[in-house]
């Protein structure tokens, strides 16, 4: 198995060199097309590997994923606050807005301090796409059906995020302050998962 990280670096640099060659030596067109194809294939492979969790995400990507995950849960909670009439669901949703905003404010302060620009990536794009589909699905539900679906999704969502924090994001983070913020995030979100499970049990 070839490691994907060196593949990505080698894929980008020869590409620039080959473009230079393309202009200079028209006689080598066939060879160049072939090498350009190899480069394109390598890029495709890298993208696929990343989507499968191959190369470790970088700190700017991790920051983006963590922040996006928070925004998604805040939006879900705001939808719930508009729709629910259940006190426990309302309290839970208010807690999600409060805590995720607090974590995200800390994340923003940290990236500013570290002079890091969060970087959009496949994982955060996939998260955002799934979340907007979920919002649309829940929009069609009302009353107890909405409450149950919202809370069930909160249990599942926090499980997924916690799993990704534990297995990918925390071990991949290189900056110690970012790692420590993610660890606090994990504790908070584990608390949310348990809270959501309690609310789910009460709704049955």
């Amino acid at each position: 198995m070839i490691s994907a990280e060196p593949l990505r670096q080698s894929a980008i640099q020869p590409f620039a060199v080959n473009r230079g060659l393309c202009r200079a030596n028209k006689g080598y067109t066939i060879m160049l097309v072939r090498s350009c194809l190899v480069v394109a294939a390598a890029l495709l492979l890298t993208t696929a590997a990343f989507a499968q969790g191959g190369p470790k995400p970088t700190d700017p990507q991790i920051a983006h994923i963590a922040y996006t995950a928070g925004v998604i849960d805040i939006n879900a909670a705001k939808q719930a606050l508009q729709k629910t009439k259940n006190k426990e669901v309302k309290d839970f949703a208010e807690g999600m807005v409060r805590d995720h905003e607090a974590v995200n404010n800390q994340a923003l302060a940290l990236v500013k301090k570290l002079n890091v620009t969060p970087e959009d990536n496949d994982t955060s794009r996939a998260l955002t796409k799934q979340a907007s589909e979920k919002l649309a699905e829940l929009k069609g539900l009302n009353g107890a059906a909405f409450d149950k679906a919202y809370i069930a999704n909160e249990v599942a969502y926090h499980k997924t995020v916690n799993n990704s924090l534990q297995k990918t994001l925390i071990p991949s983070a290189t900056n110690s302050e970012l790692k420590s913020l993610l660890e606090t995030g994990l504790k908070i979100f584990e608390g949310h998962q348990q809270h959501a499970e309690q609310v789910a049990a009460a709704l049955k």
């Binding site: 807690g95 607090a102 606090t184 504790k187 908070i188 584990e190 608390g191 348990q194 809270h195 309690q198």
Partner: protein
């Protein structure tokens, strides 16, 4: 001279007895990074618990037996007086993975 010594010893003892029996203590429980420190504390009825929340998150100290339910806003200190004896397990309503215990003597 002996009498003065005896008197002062008696006075010191009286002060000691008075402080131990009548002066309620203050127990400090800090919440830092979603953890109650110390996780288990001993106290007496009448003692004050000073809950010091150092987190940017709101927490609660909610007794499982409903003896108390203390709301702790972010970065705040809240004081409560213990009114009932017993071993009380408490948790945070918002983050039920946070747990602590207070052993309250009569």
């Amino acid at each position: 001279m002996t009498r003065i010594l005896c008197l002062s010893v008696a006075a010191a003892m009286a002060v000691a007895v008075l402080t131990s029996s009548t002066q309620a203590a203050t127990i400090r429980i800090t919440i830092d990074n979603l953890t109650y420190v110390p996780a288990e504390a001993s106290a007496r009825v009448g003692d004050t618990v000073e809950w010091i929340n150092k987190d940017v998150f709101a927490h609660t100290a909610t007794a499982r037996n409903h003896d108390f339910d203390v709301m702790q806003p972010p970065k705040s200190t809240v004081s409560t007086v213990l009114k009932k004896a017993g071993t009380v397990d408490y948790f945070c309503k918002f983050h039920p993975n946070m747990k602590g215990r207070l052993v309250i003597a009569p």
